[in-house]
Amino acid sequence: MSEIVGTVGTVGAVEDSGDTMLGLREMELNFGPQHPSTHGVLRIVLKVDGERIVSARPDIGYLHRGTEKLFETETYPMVIPHTDRLDYVAAATNNHAYVLVVEKLLGLEIPKRAQYIRVVLDEMQRVSSHLLWLATAAIDLGAITPFFYTFREREVILDLFEDYCGARLTLNCMRVGGLQEELTPGWIEKLRAFTEDLGSKIDEYEDLLTENRIWKERTIGVGILNTERCIAWGVTGPPLRAAGFKWDVRRAIPYECYPELDFEIPVGKNADTYDRYLVRIAELRQSRRILLQCCDWLTANPTGEIRGKVPRVIKPPVGDAYASVESPKGELGFYLVSSGGNKPYRLRVRPPSFINLQALPEMARGHMVSDLVAIIGTIDIVLGEVDR
């Protein structure tokens, strides 16, 4: 089988001769893996005609850590810290997707309070991830200041995470059957204060970017991927919704207490980078709405079980199951095959970043090198998840 192996490692190197460089019509440009705006170690082999991209070919795997192989050697609770490191800017949703699939196979009931806290963690994580996205996407387009404003808010979220579970980034905050930790006293109040404040903060980012002519020129019409192409490429999350397709795992395949919560799925219609920006901004506002509702519920129900009846040793029955959550990047799913033991026989991650990244060549074709950074930014990839 190994004779099918190609030669991606040898192409794309910078030509040696400085003399022929100007003679070439199409130039091959190595975009990454060390580049300020590839968000990690993504490498894109570009063929450019002047500055116009003729073809873009992503080359991934620089951060491959064999996480799926590792999963097979760990017992079910021990897998959770590893899931943190997939999409490391959205650890809570990773935890959530994983515990969901195990619970599904175990047939577990989750206490209501745990569901709400999970949703709170998820939505905080979504806010934090979108803020990080906004920061980096703006920096990619040359606006450096939103980075600091968004990080100011993200810091508060990370502080809240730290208060709740003791870690800021790799949270390890959910357990099969519920949660490990009860909320600390006053946590909800802190969260509510932050959430209420968040609306005006989002206005600040919008003041800087939404109507700015440069921002609009840089994003409108860039990287269009319409609904059909999105579905063909399996693209989910904000890019799909920006194409005008109202689909969100939280509504389509509801999990936890999302059916009880009132929120909208923002959609775009032009399927370009600007609409993806608007959709993410609108999602920030929707997450804020969800957080406020959860705060209300949790204040009204200050006590309760936070962990269901979990057997001491988690041994799901033989079989397989798939469960997914709406991570900030798209549909994050876990496919669990159990052979009845205390370790997963096979645990597959459906990484939204990986699948969304596939559409990059199509989105980038014909655009300029400057647009490529906008497009990479707008897909919102995290290389930890792409490469696993």
Binding site: E74, P77, M78, V79, I80, P81, H82, D84, R85, T145, Y149, R152, E155, D159, E162, D163, Y164, C165, G166, A167, T170, N172, Q180, E181, T184, E204, D207, L208, E211, N212, R213
Partner: protein, 158 residues
């Protein structure tokens, strides 16, 4: 955006106003070494072990996802001629630790005999093999290697 908005550069001025407003705000950053921020009570940081309390059940080592806890023990007869487990080795390879806290969670004693909630995160060092490989002595008395904020005794953070 109307034509006149464009001509009058309203978006440009709006952006400038926005950043200009921040010019006189107080900085949100802190100057780290002088104003180190204190971690929250549940913050998972440096390990600590209470050897007296530890019942040598090795559950923490079993639960560790990356197997960085090494425990050896043997039986010894104590005064009442009963078998008593004595630790030979309790090592934590801290340089590989990902601070997930599963060891603390697994510990059956109450209060916990191994815990991470020590509010100490300044683990930077010049030779990681020496300083970040903790044996029993360092686990119980690491303030010589690592500058602690406060050494939180077990369970206080809960």
């Amino acid at each position: 955006m109307s034509f006149w908005d464009r001509v009058l550069l309203l978006d440009i001025f709006g952006g400038l106003k926005m950043t200009g407003r921040h010019l006189f705000r107080k900085a949100d950053t802190v100057e780290y070494p002088e104003q180190a921020r204190e971690p929250s009570d549940r913050f998972r940081g440096m390990f600590r072990l209470d050897e007296e309390r530890c019942i040598k059940c090795t559950l923490c080592a079993i639960e560790c996802p990356i197997n960085i806890i090494f425990i050896d023990w043997h039986n010894e007869k104590n005064e009442q001629n009963k078998n008593e487990k004595v630790l030979d080795r309790f090592d934590v390879d801290l340089k590989r630790c990902m601070f997930c806290g599963l060891c603390e969670e697994a510990c059956p004693t109450n209060p916990k005999s191994i815990w991470l909630r020590t509010k100490t995160y300044e683990l930077g060092t010049y030779e990681r093999n020496e300083a970040l490989y903790l044996d029993i002595r360092k686990l119980t008395k690491w303030d010589e290697n690592v500058k602690p904020f406060t050494i939180v005794e077990q369970g206080e953070g809960r």
